[in-house]
Protein backbone atom coordinates (compact mmCIF):
# COMPACT_ATOMS: atom_id res chain seq x y z
CA UNK A 1 0.00 0.00 0.00
CA UNK A 2 1.33 3.43 -0.93
CA UNK A 3 2.29 5.73 1.87
CA UNK A 4 -0.15 8.57 2.42
CA UNK A 5 1.98 11.68 2.49
CA UNK A 6 -0.97 13.55 3.96
CA UNK A 7 -0.69 11.58 7.19
CA UNK A 8 -0.16 13.52 10.40
CA UNK A 9 3.39 13.37 11.64
CA UNK A 10 4.29 14.35 15.21
CA UNK A 11 7.82 15.60 15.79
CA UNK A 12 9.06 15.88 19.38
CA UNK A 13 12.12 17.83 20.48
CA UNK A 14 12.79 20.31 23.28
CA UNK A 15 14.93 22.28 20.90
CA UNK A 16 12.83 24.51 18.67
CA UNK A 17 15.56 24.92 16.05
CA UNK A 18 15.67 21.14 15.63
CA UNK A 19 11.88 20.99 15.26
CA UNK A 20 12.15 23.57 12.52
CA UNK A 21 14.91 21.62 10.75
CA UNK A 22 12.97 18.33 10.84
CA UNK A 23 9.78 20.07 9.73
CA UNK A 24 11.62 21.52 6.72
CA UNK A 25 13.23 18.19 5.84
CA UNK A 26 9.82 16.48 6.03
CA UNK A 27 8.42 19.19 3.81
CA UNK A 28 11.15 18.47 1.26
CA UNK A 29 10.09 14.82 1.41
CA UNK A 30 6.48 15.81 0.74
CA UNK A 31 5.06 15.52 4.28
CA UNK A 32 3.31 18.75 5.10
CA UNK A 33 0.99 17.80 7.97
CA UNK A 34 3.48 18.09 10.76
CA UNK A 35 2.74 18.92 14.40
CA UNK A 36 5.31 19.73 17.05
CA UNK A 37 5.69 18.88 20.75
CA UNK A 38 8.49 20.11 22.98
CA UNK A 39 8.58 17.23 25.48
CA UNK A 40 7.33 13.69 25.98
CA UNK A 41 4.35 14.59 28.16
CA UNK A 42 3.06 17.12 25.64
CA UNK A 43 3.56 14.61 22.83
CA UNK A 44 1.64 11.90 24.70
CA UNK A 45 -1.27 14.25 25.24
CA UNK A 46 -1.32 15.15 21.52
CA UNK A 47 -1.06 11.51 20.47
CA UNK A 48 -4.03 10.54 22.66
CA UNK A 49 -6.35 13.10 21.09
CA UNK A 50 -4.92 13.18 17.55
CA UNK A 51 -4.51 10.72 14.74
CA UNK A 52 -0.86 10.36 13.87
CA UNK A 53 0.77 8.05 11.35
CA UNK A 54 4.34 8.58 12.56
CA UNK A 55 6.23 9.92 15.59
CA UNK A 56 9.75 11.27 15.21
CA UNK A 57 11.17 11.99 18.65
CA UNK A 58 14.32 13.20 20.34
CA UNK A 59 15.51 11.23 23.38
CA UNK A 60 17.04 13.80 25.72
CA UNK A 61 14.11 15.88 26.97
CA UNK A 62 12.62 16.87 30.32
CA UNK A 63 10.43 16.11 32.18
CA UNK A 64 9.52 13.09 30.03
CA UNK A 65 12.30 11.68 27.86
CA UNK A 66 11.83 10.22 24.40
CA UNK A 67 12.40 6.73 25.82
CA UNK A 68 9.68 7.22 28.44
CA UNK A 69 7.38 8.54 25.71
CA UNK A 70 8.11 5.46 23.61
CA UNK A 71 7.28 3.16 26.54
CA UNK A 72 4.03 5.04 27.16
CA UNK A 73 3.11 4.77 23.48
CA UNK A 74 3.81 1.05 23.38
CA UNK A 75 1.85 0.51 26.60
CA UNK A 76 -1.23 2.24 25.16
CA UNK A 77 -3.45 -0.13 23.18
CA UNK A 78 -4.58 2.62 20.77
CA UNK A 79 -1.12 4.11 20.19
CA UNK A 80 0.86 0.88 20.19
CA UNK A 81 0.90 0.41 16.38
CA UNK A 82 2.11 3.98 15.62
CA UNK A 83 5.60 3.87 14.04
CA UNK A 84 8.14 5.61 16.28
CA UNK A 85 11.53 6.84 15.07
CA UNK A 86 14.05 8.03 17.64
CA UNK A 87 16.28 10.87 16.44
CA UNK A 88 19.02 11.48 18.97
CA UNK A 89 22.66 12.28 19.69
CA UNK A 90 22.69 9.31 22.10
CA UNK A 91 24.67 6.85 20.02
CA UNK A 92 25.95 4.29 22.54
CA UNK A 93 24.94 0.72 21.82
CA UNK A 94 23.20 0.48 25.22
CA UNK A 95 20.96 3.36 24.15
CA UNK A 96 20.04 1.63 20.91
CA UNK A 97 19.37 -1.63 22.78
CA UNK A 98 17.20 0.14 25.37
CA UNK A 99 15.22 1.84 22.60
CA UNK A 100 14.82 -1.43 20.70
CA UNK A 101 13.65 -3.21 23.83
CA UNK A 102 11.12 -0.43 24.39
CA UNK A 103 9.77 -0.99 20.88
CA UNK A 104 11.39 1.68 18.71
CA UNK A 105 10.70 1.31 14.97
CA UNK A 106 13.97 2.87 13.87
CA UNK A 107 16.83 4.95 15.21
CA UNK A 108 18.59 7.96 13.68
CA UNK A 109 21.78 9.41 15.14
CA UNK A 110 22.28 13.16 15.00
CA UNK A 111 23.61 14.85 12.98
CA UNK A 112 21.73 13.30 10.11
CA UNK A 113 20.76 14.22 6.56
CA UNK A 114 17.56 14.12 4.55
CA UNK A 115 18.61 10.91 2.84
CA UNK A 116 19.00 9.09 6.17
CA UNK A 117 15.65 10.42 7.33
CA UNK A 118 14.01 9.23 4.13
CA UNK A 119 15.66 5.78 4.30
CA UNK A 120 14.50 5.24 7.88
CA UNK A 121 11.00 6.48 7.09
CA UNK A 122 10.79 4.13 4.10
CA UNK A 123 11.90 1.19 6.27
CA UNK A 124 9.14 2.00 8.74
CA UNK A 125 6.31 3.16 6.46
CA UNK A 126 7.18 1.59 3.10
CA UNK A 127 8.21 3.20 -0.19
CA UNK A 128 7.03 6.73 -0.97
Amino acid sequence: MAVDKNMNVLIVDDYKTMLRIIRNLLKQLGFNNVDEATDGAMALQMLRVGNYGLVISDWNMEPMTGLQLLREVRADAKLKPVPFIMVTAESKSENVIAAKEAGVSNYIVKPFNAETLKTKMVSVLGEF
Binding site: Y15, T17, I21, N24, L25, K27, K110, P111, N113, A114
Partner: protein, 212 residues
Protein backbone atom coordinates in the same frame (compact mmCIF):
# COMPACT_ATOMS: atom_id res chain seq x y z
CA UNK B 1 51.52 11.29 86.00
CA UNK B 2 51.99 15.05 86.55
CA UNK B 3 55.11 17.01 85.50
CA UNK B 4 55.90 17.46 89.20
CA UNK B 5 55.75 13.66 89.61
CA UNK B 6 58.15 13.19 86.69
CA UNK B 7 60.60 15.75 88.19
CA UNK B 8 60.55 13.88 91.53
CA UNK B 9 61.21 10.53 89.83
CA UNK B 10 64.02 12.09 87.83
CA UNK B 11 65.58 13.52 90.97
CA UNK B 12 65.48 10.16 92.72
CA UNK B 13 66.98 8.46 89.69
CA UNK B 14 69.79 11.02 89.43
CA UNK B 15 70.55 10.54 93.12
CA UNK B 16 70.78 6.78 92.56
CA UNK B 17 73.16 7.29 89.57
CA UNK B 18 75.23 9.75 91.62
CA UNK B 19 75.50 7.26 94.46
CA UNK B 20 76.59 4.53 92.08
CA UNK B 21 78.98 6.48 89.81
CA UNK B 22 79.88 9.61 91.81
CA UNK B 23 79.91 13.16 90.33
CA UNK B 24 81.98 12.18 87.29
CA UNK B 25 81.33 9.31 84.94
CA UNK B 26 83.22 7.72 82.04
CA UNK B 27 82.08 8.22 78.46
CA UNK B 28 81.24 4.51 78.09
CA UNK B 29 78.98 4.82 81.12
CA UNK B 30 76.92 7.55 79.46
CA UNK B 31 74.84 4.99 77.49
CA UNK B 32 73.94 3.25 80.70
CA UNK B 33 72.97 6.57 82.29
CA UNK B 34 70.79 7.52 79.31
CA UNK B 35 69.13 4.10 79.34
CA UNK B 36 68.46 4.58 83.04
CA UNK B 37 67.02 8.05 82.30
CA UNK B 38 64.73 6.65 79.61
CA UNK B 39 63.55 3.93 82.01
CA UNK B 40 62.58 6.73 84.35
CA UNK B 41 60.32 8.09 81.62
CA UNK B 42 58.59 4.74 80.98
CA UNK B 43 54.85 5.10 81.43
CA UNK B 44 54.89 8.78 80.50
CA UNK B 45 56.25 9.03 76.95
CA UNK B 46 57.13 5.77 75.20
CA UNK B 47 59.00 5.42 71.90
CA UNK B 48 55.65 4.63 70.23
CA UNK B 49 54.19 7.85 71.61
CA UNK B 50 57.12 9.83 70.29
CA UNK B 51 56.64 8.30 66.84
CA UNK B 52 52.95 9.18 66.97
CA UNK B 53 53.74 12.76 68.00
CA UNK B 54 56.22 13.07 65.15
CA UNK B 55 53.64 11.75 62.69
CA UNK B 56 50.98 14.12 64.01
CA UNK B 57 53.39 17.00 63.73
CA UNK B 58 54.22 15.99 60.17
CA UNK B 59 50.50 15.73 59.35
CA UNK B 60 49.84 19.17 60.80
CA UNK B 61 52.65 20.61 58.66
CA UNK B 62 51.22 18.87 55.60
CA UNK B 63 47.72 20.26 56.25
CA UNK B 64 49.14 23.70 56.83
CA UNK B 65 51.11 23.53 53.55
CA UNK B 66 48.01 22.25 51.72
CA UNK B 67 45.95 25.15 53.09
CA UNK B 68 48.62 27.59 51.92
CA UNK B 69 48.64 26.03 48.46
CA UNK B 70 44.84 26.09 48.20
CA UNK B 71 44.80 29.69 49.35
CA UNK B 72 47.38 30.49 46.63
CA UNK B 73 44.99 28.98 44.04
CA UNK B 74 42.31 31.44 45.20
CA UNK B 75 39.42 28.95 44.92
CA UNK B 76 36.83 31.63 45.57
CA UNK B 77 38.13 33.52 42.56
CA UNK B 78 38.04 30.36 40.43
CA UNK B 79 34.41 29.81 41.41
CA UNK B 80 33.15 33.40 41.30
CA UNK B 81 35.14 34.76 38.40
CA UNK B 82 36.67 32.18 36.06
CA UNK B 83 33.98 29.50 36.09
CA UNK B 84 31.14 32.01 36.12
CA UNK B 85 32.75 33.83 33.19
CA UNK B 86 33.36 30.60 31.23
CA UNK B 87 29.73 29.55 31.72
CA UNK B 88 28.50 32.93 30.49
CA UNK B 89 30.75 32.70 27.43
CA UNK B 90 29.44 29.23 26.60
CA UNK B 91 25.83 30.38 27.01
CA UNK B 92 26.63 33.24 24.65
CA UNK B 93 27.99 30.76 22.07
CA UNK B 94 24.76 28.75 22.21
CA UNK B 95 22.67 31.91 21.92
CA UNK B 96 24.68 33.32 19.02
CA UNK B 97 24.79 30.07 17.02
CA UNK B 98 21.08 29.55 17.60
CA UNK B 99 20.29 33.04 16.33
CA UNK B 100 22.57 32.52 13.31
CA UNK B 101 21.03 29.12 12.56
CA UNK B 102 17.53 30.57 12.63
CA UNK B 103 18.67 33.39 10.36
CA UNK B 104 20.13 30.88 7.89
CA UNK B 105 16.92 28.85 7.98
CA UNK B 106 14.82 31.99 7.42
CA UNK B 107 16.88 32.62 4.28
CA UNK B 108 16.61 28.98 3.17
CA UNK B 109 12.83 28.99 3.66
CA UNK B 110 12.59 32.21 1.63
CA UNK B 111 14.60 30.56 -1.14
CA UNK B 112 12.33 27.51 -0.99
CA UNK B 113 9.24 29.71 -1.39
CA UNK B 114 10.57 30.75 -4.81
CA UNK B 115 10.36 27.17 -6.14
CA UNK B 116 6.78 27.42 -7.50
CA UNK B 117 7.84 30.41 -9.62
CA UNK B 118 10.62 28.48 -11.32
CA UNK B 119 10.64 25.79 -13.97
CA UNK B 120 10.68 22.25 -12.57
CA UNK B 121 14.35 21.51 -13.18
CA UNK B 122 15.54 24.70 -11.48
CA UNK B 123 12.99 24.24 -8.67
CA UNK B 124 14.27 20.72 -8.00
CA UNK B 125 17.83 21.98 -7.91
CA UNK B 126 16.82 24.75 -5.52
CA UNK B 127 15.12 22.19 -3.25
CA UNK B 128 18.30 20.10 -3.17
CA UNK B 129 20.32 23.13 -2.16
CA UNK B 130 17.92 24.24 0.57
CA UNK B 131 17.79 20.67 1.88
CA UNK B 132 21.57 20.73 2.23
CA UNK B 133 21.29 24.00 4.14
CA UNK B 134 18.76 22.49 6.57
CA UNK B 135 20.93 19.41 7.01
CA UNK B 136 23.94 21.58 7.80
CA UNK B 137 21.91 23.46 10.41
CA UNK B 138 21.68 20.33 12.58
CA UNK B 139 25.22 21.20 13.72
CA UNK B 140 23.64 23.72 16.09
CA UNK B 141 21.72 21.10 18.03
CA UNK B 142 24.83 18.96 18.47
CA UNK B 143 26.98 21.96 19.39
CA UNK B 144 24.39 23.05 21.93
CA UNK B 145 24.29 19.61 23.54
CA UNK B 146 28.07 19.40 23.70
CA UNK B 147 28.31 22.84 25.28
CA UNK B 148 25.63 21.87 27.80
CA UNK B 149 27.83 18.93 28.81
CA UNK B 150 30.81 21.27 29.26
CA UNK B 151 28.69 23.63 31.38
CA UNK B 152 27.63 20.67 33.56
CA UNK B 153 31.31 19.68 33.97
CA UNK B 154 32.16 23.25 34.99
CA UNK B 155 29.32 23.21 37.49
CA UNK B 156 30.72 20.00 38.96
CA UNK B 157 34.17 21.61 39.29
CA UNK B 158 32.54 24.66 40.88
CA UNK B 159 30.76 22.47 43.47
CA UNK B 160 33.98 20.64 44.32
CA UNK B 161 35.95 23.87 44.67
CA UNK B 162 33.21 25.15 46.99
CA UNK B 163 33.45 21.98 49.10
CA UNK B 164 37.22 22.43 49.29
CA UNK B 165 36.84 26.02 50.47
CA UNK B 166 34.30 24.94 53.10
CA UNK B 167 36.55 22.12 54.30
CA UNK B 168 39.62 24.31 54.72
CA UNK B 169 37.84 27.41 55.91
CA UNK B 170 36.49 30.33 53.94
CA UNK B 171 38.97 32.67 55.65
CA UNK B 172 41.60 31.33 53.25
CA UNK B 173 39.84 32.89 50.27
CA UNK B 174 36.66 34.94 50.40
CA UNK B 175 36.49 35.18 46.61
CA UNK B 176 37.14 38.89 46.62
CA UNK B 177 38.92 40.10 43.49
CA UNK B 178 42.67 40.50 43.43
CA UNK B 179 44.19 43.84 44.13
CA UNK B 180 43.69 46.12 41.13
CA UNK B 181 46.79 46.44 38.96
CA UNK B 182 47.35 48.83 36.07
CA UNK B 183 46.06 47.38 32.77
CA UNK B 184 48.66 45.88 30.46
CA UNK B 185 48.30 45.47 26.67
CA UNK B 186 47.54 41.79 27.29
CA UNK B 187 44.73 42.69 29.72
CA UNK B 188 43.05 44.62 26.91
CA UNK B 189 42.72 41.49 24.77
CA UNK B 190 39.57 39.84 26.12
CA UNK B 191 37.01 40.17 23.35
CA UNK B 192 34.50 39.31 22.11
CA UNK B 193 32.40 40.76 24.89
CA UNK B 194 29.25 39.07 26.13
CA UNK B 195 26.08 40.73 24.76
CA UNK B 196 25.25 42.45 28.07
CA UNK B 197 28.80 43.73 28.52
CA UNK B 198 29.49 44.84 24.98
CA UNK B 199 29.76 48.43 23.87
CA UNK B 200 27.83 48.94 20.66
CA UNK B 201 29.07 50.84 17.62
CA UNK B 202 27.00 53.94 18.43
CA UNK B 203 28.50 54.11 21.94
CA UNK B 204 32.00 53.67 20.52
CA UNK B 205 31.35 56.44 17.98
CA UNK B 206 30.12 58.68 20.80
CA UNK B 207 33.19 57.85 22.90
CA UNK B 208 35.53 58.67 20.00
CA UNK B 209 33.63 61.88 19.32
CA UNK B 210 34.09 62.90 22.96
CA UNK B 211 37.83 63.20 22.31
CA UNK B 212 37.28 65.79 19.58
Amino acid sequence: MSAKGVDRDLELRLDAIRREHGETIQVDQIGEVVRAMLETMTGDIGAGDLRLYRELESLASYIHAAKEEIAALRPGEIKNEFIASATDELDAIVGATEAATNEIMDAAESLGSLSPMLDQEVANRLDEITTRIFEACTFQDITGQRITKVVKALKEIEDRVESLVKMFGAEYDDGSPKEEKPLTDQDLLNGPQLPGNATNQAEIDALLASFD
